[in-house]
């Protein structure tokens, strides 16, 4: 454990003062509270531009790791940054801060929905909100599709996953247990990936 934490400590040399647990909590709480329409851009602005905890390049290096790990990318960034500066307590402070206000707001919205779910205004509101939300999800898919390598292998895995989970509603755990290792093994065999 000591060996693991000593290396991240060296990375903080570019930062004059490593943030305290309270600073991690406080800054990620603000990110959570203001993060409308996706938290990631707000997290980047706070970490790189306002606090200077990471350079643009360091943030860009951290992002793929946060994307690869399971869970929301921004929660993983909070975990990794908190870990780097203050170990387990830092991670806990950053993640707790990030989730505090969104959890409260979401639960209050849930109560509002339960209270007014039969009102015409709620129906009207959702009749426009829902198609917009569906459109945003489709846009995310489109953005990822254009970033994929243009080959048959990619297409086959997209279609197999969609057929298994979207159409056949097979259990996610089973689908990932089969397709995950298979996709990784095939990518490993492709020379371009290894370089």
């Amino acid at each position: 454990m000591t060996a693991l934490t000593s290396k991240p400590a060296a990375d903080t040399a570019s930062v004059p003062d490593a943030p305290t647990c309270f600073e991690l909590f406080h800054n990620f709480a603000i990110v959570g509270l203001t993060g409308f329409g996706g938290v990631l851009p707000w997290a980047r602005r706070m970490i790189v531009e306002r606090r200077g905890w990471l350079s643009d390049l360091e943030f860009a290096e951290l992002l793929p790791l946060a994307q690869l790990l399971p869970g929301p990318n921004v929660a993983n960034i909070a975990t990794l940054l908190g870990r780097r500066y203050r170990g387990a307590a830092g991670s806990a402070a950053a993640v707790f801060g990030l989730y505090l206000f969104p959890t409260i707001i979401t639960i209050l919205l849930g109560y509002a929905y339960q209270r007014w779910s039969d009102s015409p205004i709620m129906h009207r509101l959702l009749s426009g909100l829902m198609p917009a939300a569906a459109g945003l999800m489709i846009a995310t898919v489109l953005k990822l599709v254009v970033s994929l390598p243009r080959n048959v292998q990619s297409l086959v895995f997209v279609c197999m996953t969609f057929a298994a989970v979207g159409l056949l509603t097979l259990p996610l755990l089973a689908v990932l247990a089969v397709l995950g290792p298979l996709a990784t093994w095939l990518a490993w065999r492709t020379p371009a990936v290894r370089s």
Binding site: G110, L136, I138, L173, L186
Partner: protein, 174 residues
């Protein structure tokens, strides 16, 4: 009550740990389990909950808090939220710390490249589950297509599209 909470906890932990490439990849499986297997909520409520969380600040995946609220009240909401963020953060803490020092390891690249199309397939499934329930008339299909096109082609903050959609809805044209 206790069995529901335990169910929310165990499945929440599983979804959190399987959410490779972001929270929304598990959405189709969450819909299938909570709506069709457990009947905690209706399909209409599911898409409402997802959409409501898009209008609120915070990380992706907060819809599970509303599903928990519906299934088991406030304890359900809190259990679901914790199950959503704690396991994935623990993985990030232990595995991520190791990764940060070994990012030159070859198979890390292989995992990233290999899983990318699987992530796309899972998000396409999530889109399908949402659109199938939501886009039930021409106006709604049109709004989804326009929002998808704008969000795909521009860097506009998506919250403006969500608000515009809500305004259109309130005006009664949808």
């Amino acid at each position: 009550m206790w069995t529901t909470l335990l169910d929310l906890l165990l499945h929440g932990v599983m979804w959190s740990m399987l959410a490779v490439g972001g929270s929304n990849v598990t959405l189709a499986d969450i819909q299938h389990y909570t709506v069709e297997t457990r009947h905690w909520l209706t399909a209409a409520q599911f898409v409402s909950f997802y959409s409501i969380t898009q209008a609120a600040p915070g990380p992706n995946g907060m819809a599970v808090a509303l599903i928990g609220l519906q299934a088991a009240g406030l304890p359900g909401a809190l259990v679901s939220t914790l199950a959503n963020c704690v396991p994935s953060s623990c993985i990030a803490f232990f595995v991520g710390g190791w990764f940060e020092q070994h990012h030159e390891v070859r198979w890390v690249g292989a995992v990233r490249h290999g899983l990318a199309p699987v992530t796309v397939g899972l998000l396409a499934s999530a889109s399908f589950v949402l659109a199938r329930e939501i886009d039930i008339n021409a106006m709604r299909i049109g709004l989804t297509v326009v929002c998808a096109a704008i969000a795909f082609r521009s860097k506009l903050n998506p919250i403006w599209l969500v608000l515009a959609g809500a305004m259109l809805g309130l005006s009664g044209v949808m």
